[in-house]
């Protein structure tokens, strides 16, 4: 039993103007994080990786499934219990520049933790505590205390936020894209700081879209696509011996310093770019498809899953998944009418609500199989 255990966590969002359709953002994701373990959660935008972080942080409820921390179910926690939970689980987010209130000094974030959790602590003891955590995140107290956010660099701000989390007796840190806004020269410092925290026993969920960062820091890797796990396992195994086509295509897209992008045959990837554009494909043969594919998230119209409404749904929401998805979903032939003839009179077709359970069942992810010890791969659809 790991420290944090995710068991078939699913999340379905309502979308459409009046919440008319349901969209699965996470599909039965299960994995665990141990003490002193860094798990990187990798996926493209829209893959549901941030949603998962928010569910663990109890910022948004899961639609189904269980999140347990040290054996206790987290999803039902509230009030005092939740307050205690945040003592052990904290998050740091992507944009340090918008995490601070520009009107207040940056170290106000520390003061807020003190009021909330350490009301009884003496000033001296508190100040000593602050200094220790600042040291842990390799910041010089004189550089950062009593300063406004704009006087600090992005890297300093981000480390200050990690320090804030460390003031508590934190056991699990959710780091959501904390590196991506930083400059190349300060990125590594923040990464190395995470490594040293991990060595002290902190569990870290490192959410990123950057494969090289994930590879550098993590012990385990989980690759997410359309809200479902496609491949997971020990990092050297997943990166050294990728099994799923999607993982392979992601790896070929990573820009490297000493190797040019290898040609990759996107066309065999199931959903290719719009057919109309086949003749005009760039000579290199590699353009956009994976990206399009990532966005081809399935939508389920609340008014039944029949082809009739599916076609209508696709027509009215052209934004979903570029041409490819629309073309796939749209039924051929003329658009069917919403009315039907019955007993010599026209009636509006009956609409049926799709229930959450149906969407969850319909969007069940492909099963994972073990291809080598400690390395799971989804069966390719």
């Amino acid at each position: 039993m790991s420290m944090l255990e995710l068991d078939k966590v699913s999340k379905v969002f309502k979308s459409g103007t009046f919440g008319g359709s349901l969209k699965p953002a996470l599909r039965q994701v299960s994995f665990g994080i141990d003490r002193g373990e860094v798990v990187s959660l990798i996926g493209e935008s829209g893959s549901g990786k941030s949603t998962l972080g928010k569910i663990v942080l109890h910022l948004t409820p899961a639609s189904a499934g269980k999140v347990s921390f040290e054996g206790q179910d987290v999803t039902e926690k509230k009030g005092r219990e939740l307050h205690e939970y945040y003592r052990h689980v904290q998050g740091v987010f992507q944009d340090p520049f918008s995490s601070y209130n520009p009107l207040y000094k940056a170290d106000r974030v520390f003061e807020m933790v003190r009021q909330e959790y350490f009301g009884g602590l003496q000033r001296d003891a508190w100040e000593a505590k602050v200094e220790t955590v600042l040291e842990t995140v390799t910041l010089n107290p004189a550089d950062v205390l009593n300063k406004f956010p704009h006087q600090l660099s992005g890297g300093q701000q981000q480390r200050l936020l990690v320090a804030r989390a460390l003031l508590l007796d934190v056991k699990l840190l959710i780091a959501d894209e904390i590196i991506s806004m930083l400059d190349a020269s300060t990125r590594v410092d923040v990464l190395n700081m995470l490594v040293s925290l991990k060595r002290k026993g902190l569990g870290i969920l490192f959410i990123t879209h950057d494969l090289s960062l994930g590879n550098y820091i993590s012990d385990k890797t989980v690759i997410l696509r359309h809200g479902a796990v496609v491949e997971m396992g020990e990092t050297p195994k997943v990166f050294g011996n990728p099994q799923h086509r999607y993982t392979k295509s992601l790896l070929t897209a990573v820009p490297q310093l000493h190797k040019k992008w290898a040609p990759f045959d996107w066309s065999a990837n199931g959903s290719a770019a719009p057919a109309s554009n086949g003749a005009l494909r760039p000579a290199s043969g590699a353009a956009a498809p994976v990206a399009e594919e990532a966005r081809e998230t399935r939508r389920y119209s609340r008014s039944s899953l029949s082809p009739l409404h599916a076609a209508k749904g696709a027509k009215s929401t052209p934004s979903v998944g570029a041409g490819a998805a629309v073309a796939e979903e749209a039924a051929p032939g003329p658009r069917p009418s919403l009315m039907e003839m019955e007993g010599g009179r026209w009636h509006r077709r009956a609409r049926r609500r799709v229930t959450l359970a149906e969407v969850l069942a319909e969007s069940a992810p492909p099963p994972l199989v073990e291809c080598e010890p400690g390395h799971l791969v989804a069966v390719e659809e």
Binding site: A184, S212, L257, S284, A288, A291, S319
Partner: protein
């Protein structure tokens, strides 16, 4: 010679004085060349890019000339520049994803832009559609609002619109930064594709991501604190950088396959100096592990090896030293 910039100096006016964001910059970009411009945030790379097409109100042109295809670009004259914008020089702005007007359909936006350049959309429409298809967008995007497109699609739509009039120079400012890897690759490859097809003659690709430049750029220029640090062809910069700053920047990049257990990478300690009152001498001196007495003097940006310009006393010493050794060996 497509673009040639000489002694360009651009400053921002602030309450506390002028901030020298681009300080005495001289370089050129050849026809068909994709030049990468790299550096940390605040090093002046975006200011340099923007100054070639539009000087904001608080930006001031303090000196230097810009020549494009043999003609001087009147960069400090907003009106006179209008003639050149989009036709001769075009830009894919930073945050291109939010550069599109949310209340206008992509087609309407393009029509208005073209109208302001005195061209009718009808005239370029077939070519517009062809290019939209080339970048992998459905024909229907012309009828769509920006919010209906994903980030990657918006980025590509902006690319097509910016290059509709086949500009001689395209400035691509951080076009890949907000995208995920597969979109980064797609956009990167489209940039080279646009060059190969002659839609744009030459390009300046501004980014902080050296690994993207290693993929698409022909030459790379590195800036530090408003000054040029190093320029050479892409392979040379990546494999044999001479400036300590470039070296540090490269060694702080984690690559796929590098793990902390095997190789702990190091960042660059310290921060770039304030450009309000930049220190004398080499600006990287405080963070440089090789700094010595001579660095108190400002190093000139000179060609140390064929096609390889560097502004560093240490590099100059090293190159001279190795040349001497070779010379001695040859003499023996």
């Amino acid at each position: 010679m497509s673009l040639s910039v000489r002694n360009l100096r651009i400053a921002y006016r602030t309450l506390r004085g002028d901030v020298q964001a681009v300080d005495d910059v001289t370089f050129s970009v050849a026809d068909g060349e994709i030049m990468g411009l790299a550096g940390e945030s605040g090093c002046g790379k975006s200011t340099l890019g923007n100054s070639l097409i539009y000087l904001e109100g608080r930006m001031r042109h303090l000196g230097g000339t810009v020549e494009l295809d043999g003609k001087v670009l009147p960069i400090s004259d907003d009106r006179a520049m209008n003639r050149h914008r989009m036709r001769d020089v075009s830009i894919i702005p930073q945050y291109a994803m939010s550069a599109l007007n949310p209340t206008k359909k992509i087609g309407v936006l393009a029509r208005d832009l073209l109208k302001s350049r005195g061209t009718k959309l009808a005239k370029v429409l077939p070519e517009f559609r062809r290019r939209v298809a080339l970048v992998g967008l459905p024909d229907s995007v012309l009828e769509m609002y920006p919010f209906e497109l994903s980030g990657g699609m918006r980025q590509r739509a902006t690319m097509v619109i910016s290059t509709l009039l086949n500009p001689s120079l395209l400035i691509a400012d951080e076009v890949t930064s907000a995208l995920d890897v597969s979109n980064q690759r797609a956009v990167g490859e489209l940039l080279t594709e646009f060059r190969d097809r002659g839609y744009v003659k030459s390009m300046i690709v501004i980014t902080h991501d050296l690994s993207i430049l290693a993929q698409i750029a022909d030459t790379i220029m590195v800036m530090y604190a408003g000054k040029l640090a190093e320029k050479a062809d892409a392979g040379t910069i990546i494999d044999r950088p001479l400036h300590p700053y470039t070296q540090a920047l490269l060694s702080s990049l984690p690559e796929v396959g590098v793990r902390y257990e095997e190789e702990e990478l190091t960042g660059i300690p310290g921060r770039p100096p304030s450009l309000l009152d930049p220190p004398a001498g080499c600006r990287f001196r405080d963070r440089c592990p090789f700094a010595f007495d001579k660095c108190a003097e400002e190093p000139p940006f000179v060609e140390l090896l064929p096609g390889h310009q560097v502004a560093c006393w240490k590099a100059a010493q090293d190159v001279a030293g190795s040349a001497e050794r070779e010379h001695e060996e040859a003499a023996r």
